[in-house]
Amino acid sequence: MTDASGALRRTALHDAHLVLGARMVPFGGFEMPVQYTSILAEHDAVRKRAGLFDLSHMGQFALYGGDVGAWAETLTINRVGNMKIGQARYNVFTNERGGAHDDVIFYRIGDDEWLLVVNASNAGKMWGIVSAARSGDVRLDNLHGERALIAIQGPRSLEMLQPYVDADLTNLKYYACTPTRVREAREPVLIARTGYTGEDGFELFLSNDEAVGVWDLLLAENRKHGLVPCGLGARDVLRLEAGMPLYGHEMDEEITPLQAGLNWAIKFDKPAFIGKAALEAQRDAGDYARITGVTMEGRAPARAGYAVFAGGARVGEIRSGSWGPSVAKNIATALVAPSAAAEGTPLDVEIRGTHHPARTTALPFYRRPKA
């Protein structure tokens, strides 16, 4: 999404990225850092220490009203109404065919106040969908681009963030959130223990005016402890290793959350939601193509769109692929027929006309060591 002139939008941290030597690329209508130094070095920092991300391009919608919970449950696969204040929850907005409009996170801030975070590339579409579906006392406010989002991710993120935050982060559970004071910010900042890297970490929702102060503080104080700014390149490798879906790759308007392996998030016991009948039919038939992990045996990386074969027959296609530094192999996801989805199934991936051996692998490729 760009403005009327087609120009890319900039986040509040744009100048900070340039000073840090970022290579900027268009993403979701914004000019975003893809890397500062090296994708592999930034990936390594997040796995071993921590990385700092600007995610202000993501869509933030404020939702108000006593009806938000019940209303949102009719549009999505997961429960919303039973979330407690201070809870965050992953969810997917579906179409009538069971396909995904977007995968999102709801944050419950108060009795009648919620934050909905959607993918940057879907923010325009999603604003249209929630606006058109609005009912009861639900009120919506589109904060896309008006509020900032900074993430700190990695095993040392808690000790790097805690000194500058009033809330006791040790007691903030995974997928919990709390408003709190952060040094360099006058307004309260919403901090959530969420992320997209497979590591422990936090996301800070704050005003654009205060983003630079908080970003500079965290980086200045923690550089010596190994915190580095990280771009979207490292983020994509981190999420792929962690087996987390990326909209447009592992899920889209045609690939359902059931196919993406998100069975745990689909609450079939809800009375009704858009796409429920289609998802039930797909579940009951059971013969749907599904997302699996794929590990290449050789050095050639699999990339999105490459054909996948098993026993000489075409069984699907690669949806995401990269070198996976944490496993030191080329890793990928593929949408494959159920016959090829069992772990260990020998596969061939066609790369520039040549078949390269691979195997079906259970997701995730990487799980963080237990603390």
């Binding site: 090296s38 994708i39 994509d236 050095r299 050639a300 990386p301 990269s322 070198w323 080329n330 520039r352």
Partner: protein
């Protein structure tokens, strides 16, 4: 940024070192920096016959696949196995240990279509 003198350069950011009728090919410092972390290089086979400026392989970074357009034509007589095991060698030593392949030139006059270090410097400073 100054390019090593004594090499020839293509507008596709390869370098060529000519020694008699044998040419060694690699990618430039500018190319490796633009690509970022290199994770795979697919080279032609020894014995393959290359046509000048044809796409003859790929170099892949974490994010992207880029074609290699051979700056010289001829028969491939050697490939650098070291970069298969350690593709990052291309990032570390683009003009040294990270070379790609050697060809026996089909026609030594074809190097006339390549650039000097000074000409290549101008090209990338305008990029």
């Amino acid at each position: 940024m100054a390019q090593p003198a004594g090499l020839l350069y293509s507008k596709e950011h390869e370098w060529v070192k000519v020694d008699g009728d044998v040419a060694t090919v690699g990618i430039t410092e500018y190319a490796q920096a633009s690509l970022g972390d290199i994770v795979y290089v697919e080279l032609p086979r020894i014995g393959a016959s290359l046509e000048q400026f044809a796409s003859i392989g790929v170099v892949e970074s974490v994010k992207a696949v880029s074609d290699i357009f051979t700056p010289v034509g001829g028969e491939v007589i050697a490939i650098n196995d070291a970069i298969d095991a350690d593709p990052a060698l291309v990032n570390r030593e683009p003009y040294g240990g990270g070379w790609f392949y050697q060809v026996k030139l089909a026609d030594v006059t074809q190097t006339g279509e390549l650039m000097s270090a000074e000409q290549y410097d101008r090209l990338i400073s305008e990029a």
